[in-house]
């Protein structure tokens, strides 16, 4: 038992008025009087604003003068000021985890503005519960772990290259692993890049040079990451190269594995010759089109926005428009028609390109997915939904716009790193809106088409962005974690079943073999204290610091007490 338990418990309760936010709606004197009657409470004080400099000084003074060893502030939500009150306790020499908050504003005075009596009674309940829990609180120490300043970047396409170069510029070592023989990824197969019509080959050559000429970046091509263990700051990776296995230790991992083009076998008479994909057209354009080609028909959404692949692949419309214009550049009298469902030319640059293409004479026809175009031997037949009649378009070349799909090994990578993939097998970021480049697991980041199809501008932005995210723990040199985490409080009870390991959303648990058999081990820096493991453990072997069963039960008992 910690020493604090041996000592007599002296709880100081600070009741905040929050100006009139609390005092205007609750009976403060009644709260004060009542609180003095609670067990272990040796000091009660009202503050106009507990969070103000004056309020904080009063709390600090009381801790010292009254020899308090527990502090309860009954005021607002922990979201607003818990960190402030905790650090104030620490400054006064009290362990910051011997602090508890009772939310009598957001969850009481604000919602019961018209019910002074009931609101005051509820505030009494809340304070009593806080005091009861505080008595059982135990001191905790923050957890710190060093971070190795070396990054592993998986995938050597434009996203991975951009991220690697950025990290190197910041002074970090980078290990870049590419499964193909050459760096460059999808860019190696492309011709010109929209909307600037930059030569893909030249661009990637220049970008590869930046990587290979940089002594901070170690490149492994024809290699794969076979094993990854550890956690933020201390990952161990085993890389399989042609010349054997290499073990490296790294601090952070970036996933930049890209996507691949869907091959439309069996759709629209696809044969790779007269009926090709946009990706194959890129090669034809690079070599120079057969000048006899006079009529080209492109079909959008081939293999996407359907039941099997419900998503819109974002970049195929812009690719089609760009390639249509490049066809016109090579064969000015060619007739190019694009059959579409929605032209996804979002933003400034794309819409501009869309307009330019119309000025160049590219024709656009809307088709309904219920009446898809028919590819015939010399023409494409399509029901033109705006004209309300069927059209026959002569076609020397038919180009199918197929979606970018997840890599075949996406699932393997996902298991390797214990990070999730979505229903379309793209990697799933930590939060679709607010954390687009992070995984939920600390220390692992995401960029480029491994996340979702992205164009050149977006890939570069995400590569830079992921580098920025990854640089944060490395620039700090260490990670400091709040000690409100899961602990194996009853080792004998743990049967090593692994249920908690499977459920942990942060990969913070692992099974280890010990002298007592298989036991769960909490990787404390990775744990976020969410409590999923503790609440599902059949054996009650795990518990969460500052939220132990005893503490929560004490709160509930206090609530149910007759007053």
């Amino acid at each position: 038992m910690p020493e604090s338990k041996e000592k007599e418990i002296k709880t100081g309760v600070f009741i905040c008025h929050c100006g009139s936010n609390i005092a205007g709606y609750l009976d403060m004197e009644a709260l004060d009087e009542y609180t003095q009657t609670l067990p272990n409470v040796t000091f009660v004080q009202q503050n106009l604003y507990s969070c103000s400099e004056g309020g904080i000084n009063e709390i600090k003074k009381a801790i010292k003068e009254q020899d308090l060893n527990r502090v309860v502030v009954s005021s607002c939500s922990p979201r607003t000021h818990e960190p402030l009150f905790r650090s104030s306790c620490e400054e006064a020499g009290l362990n910051p985890y011997l602090f508890e908050m009772a939310n009598i504003r957001d969850q009481c005075s604000w919602v019961h503005m018209q019910q002074r009596e009931d609101g005051t009674a509820k505030a009494k309940d809340l304070i009593r519960m806080g005091v009861a829990k505080a008595a059982l609180l135990e001191p905790q120490e923050s957890i710190m772990s060093q971070v190795k300043t070396r990054a592993l970047v998986i995938g050597g396409g434009l996203a991975g290259i951009t991220a690697s170069t950025a990290l190197a510029k910041r002074g970090y070592e980078v290990v870049l692993v590419e499964k193909e023989k050459n760096l460059g990824g999808m860019l190696n197969k492309l011709n010109k890049l929209g909307p600037t019509m930059t030569d893909a080959g030249e661009l990637i050559e220049e970008k590869i040079k930046e990587v290979t000429n940089n002594d901070k970046i170690t490149v492994f091509t024809g290699a794969r990451v076979a094993v990854v263990q550890g956690f933020i700051g201390k990952f161990d990776a085993e890389i399989e190269t042609e010349s054997g296995k290499k073990n490296i230790d790294i601090g952070v991992i970036l996933v930049a594995t890209g996507g691949r083009n869907f091959v439309p076998e069996g759709l629209y008479d696809y044969d790779g010759k007269r009926v090709v994909t946009q990706l194959e057209l890129e090669q034809l354009l690079k070599k120079g089109l057969d000048p006899d080609i006079k009529n080209v028909v492109m079909i959008q959404c081939v293999g996407s926005r359907n039941e099997e692949r419900p998503y819109c692949s974002r970049i195929c419309c812009q690719t089609a428009v760009k390639n249509a214009m490049l066809i016109k550049d090579q064969i000015p009298d060619a007739r190019v028609s694009i059959l579409y469902r929605d032209m996804q030319m979002y933003g400034v640059e794309n819409e501009e390109m869309f307009r330019d293409s119309k000025a160049k004479g590219i024709r656009y026809m809307h088709y309904d997915p219920d009446q898809p175009p028919q590819v015939e031997s010399e023409q494409v037949r399509v029901y033109h939904s705006l004209l309300g009649r069927e059209m026959e378009l002569p076609a020397d070349l038919v180009v199918l716009s197929t979606p970018l799909v997840a890599q075949e090994d996406a699932e393997t990578t996902s298991q390797l790193l214990r990070v999730p993939i979505d229903e379309n097998r793209f990697f799933l970021e930590g939060h679709v809106k607010l954390k687009p480049l992070d995984f939920a697991t600390d220390g692992i980041y995401l960029c480029g088409s491994a996340r979702f199809p992205a164009n050149i501008r977006e890939v570069i932005a995400q590569g830079l962005g992921a580098a920025s995210r990854a640089s944060i723990p490395m620039s700090k040199g260490s990670v400091v974690v709040e000690p409100i985490i899961s602990v194996l409080s009853d080792e004998d009870a743990c049967r090593g079943c692994g249920l908690c390991v499977a459920l942990c959303p942060y990969s913070a648990l692992e099974i280890r073999r010990t002298e007592k058999g298989r036991k769960v081990h909490v990787i404390d820096v990775a744990c976020k204290g969410c409590g999923v493991c503790a609440s599902t453990c059949y054996q009650h072997a795990l518990s969460i610091n500052s939220y132990t069963s005893e503490q929560i039960e004490a709160q509930i008992d206090a609530f149910l007490e007759e007053t």
């Binding site: 979201r79 819109c312 939904s385 705006l386 050149i456 830079l464 920025s468």
Partner: protein, 452 residues
């Protein structure tokens, strides 16, 4: 926002303008004007007691002027910092009248009517511009009759109506109905006052007002000044009561808006205004239609657009779900005109391009998906920073250096660069942070080299 407010490495200078930028990457000197709030930042706890007692009424810009706030205010409840500000244009004290209530109620003694602007200079290595965008003003489009028809609103106004913390607490009360309800309240106040006066007369003379009025009209009481006044007051009262009763009857039939029309590409993909696509509006229309349906399951929505551009992760799936579960119909075509119908209902005229017919359809409300316009003052801002703008006044970048402006060491992210949605803005913010960090580190290394 809370993270920004609390991070030890971030100094937040809200309510401030950039006056001058000098120097070069690695060594900029920036002059900042910290505008006076008339509230001292280090004292204000953001408790809001001042705003509660302030007697001034000001249209609330955060609610898109659909509600009111006081003259001392915080822009919105969760705003960081929570420091309040006095709007000098509306503050009675600062306008030379007698007031100062806020100063009296502020227990933190933070109100300072004598506060002045402060000029400070910052020495920084890199700069990131993230000034965002403005909502396009649709009153420039005559055929949509924005403001002329009360129930034609912008998506941003609609967003506030949908919000539980907004002016209608999330109920889709129509602006035309809200105007009537406000008028009823004003008249009720008047009627209450005149009724009080009449009550006094009735008590004094022990006679009914109607009786006095009737007799006065028939020529009686010509010499009775008191009753003459009484009769005049009664006439005034009737003049209030008549329209009040009509309106009250009218208000009984008010219901929330249930037939919604969302009009896409308002000001964007339009050669008269902005030819570009604003990128995010298709999705916010779908989202608003889905939420409206969550509030009231009878709600039906029609989204009128040339293309529905649901292009990011999960967006196409969301669009399909909206159609299947939230009574949303997607109509392909641009709306040509909105006209007024019965009961203030907007009538949408459009070509159904699939059926090749011009149609008219009546709705309870029409919501305009307005373009993402470069923020006001962009030209001056560009001059201050020396950065180039594109033809629309967004900050110019290139696809190979997506967050670099034309000035080394100055970067941009979000809608200041071009229209984009939340995840893209967040990703770009990290990109700009990366470029800024690279700049600072490189210049520090160079300086160290120079010293060595």
């Amino acid at each position: 926002m809370l993270d920004v407010g609390r991070h030890p490495n971030i100094e937040l200078l809200a309510y401030s303008d950039i006056e001058k930028v000098e120097g070069e990457q690695g060594d900029f000197t920036v002059t900042v004007r910290r505008k006076r709030r008339y509230v001292e930042e280090d004292k204000c706890t953001g408790c809001g007691a001042c705003a509660e007692k302030c007697p001034a009424t000001v249209p609330d810009a955060f609610e898109e002027n659909q509600g009111n706030r006081s003259a001392v205010y915080s822009y919105f409840a969760q705003g960081i910092p929570s420091t309040h500000t006095i709007d000098a244009d509306y503050c009675r004290q600062l306008q030379g009248k007698k007031c100062g209530i806020c100063k009296k109620v502020c227990q933190a003694d933070a109100i300072n009517f004598e506060q002045e602007d402060r000029i400070i200079t910052l020495s920084v290595g890199a700069i990131i511009i993230a000034v965002g965008y403005d909502v396009f003003d649709p009153s420039q489009i005559p055929e949509y009759r924005f403001r002329e028809l009360p129930n034609v609103v912008t998506a941003m106004e609609f967003e506030r109506l949908l919000s539980a913390s907004g002016p209608t607490h999330g109920h889709l009360d129509r602006p035309s109905d809200r105007a009537v309800v406000a008028e009823i309240k004003a008249l009720e106040k008047k009627a209450k006052r005149s009724q009080k006066t009449l009550d006094r007369f009735e008590k004094k003379h022990d006679q009914a007002s109607a009786d006095v009025y009737e007799k006065y009209r028939k020529g009686q009481y010509q010499d009775d000044e008191d009753r003459k006044k009484w009769a005049d007051k009664y006439a005034e009262h009737l003049a209030v009561m008549e329209p009040l009763e009509t309106m009250q009857k009218q208000a009984e039939s008010f219901t929330v808006a249930k037939r919604l029309a969302f009009i896409q590409c308002v000001g964007s993909r339009d050669f008269r205004f902005y030819p570009f696509c604003s990128g995010y509006c298709c999705m916010h229309s779908i989202k608003e239609a889905v939420i409206a349906h969550e509030h009231e399951t009878e709600t039906t929505s029609a989204i009128f657009g040339m293309d529905i551009r649901a292009v990011s992760k999960g967006f196409e799936e969301y669009k399909i779900r909206g159609g299947n579960n939230s009574n949303i119909t997607y109509v392909r075509g641009r709306v040509s005109e909105i006209i007024g119908g019965a009961d203030h209902n907007p009538v949408v005229i459009y070509e159904d391009t699939q059926q090749r017919q011009v149609k008219e359809e009546e709705f309870d409300m029409a919501i305009l998906a307005t373009a993402c316009a470069p923020t006001k003052g962009m030209v001056e801002l560009a001059k201050t920073f020396g950065v180039e703008l594109d033809e629309y006044n967004f900050i110019k970048t290139s696809s190979l250096a997506p967050v670099d402006t034309s000035v080394p060491g100055i970067f941009v992210c979000g809608c200041a660069e071009s229209p984009m949605d939340v995840p893209e803005s967040v990703a770009q913010a990290s990109s700009a942070a990366e470029r800024a960090a690279e700049t600072v580190i490189q210049s520090t290394l160079e300086k160290e080299k120079a010293v060595a």
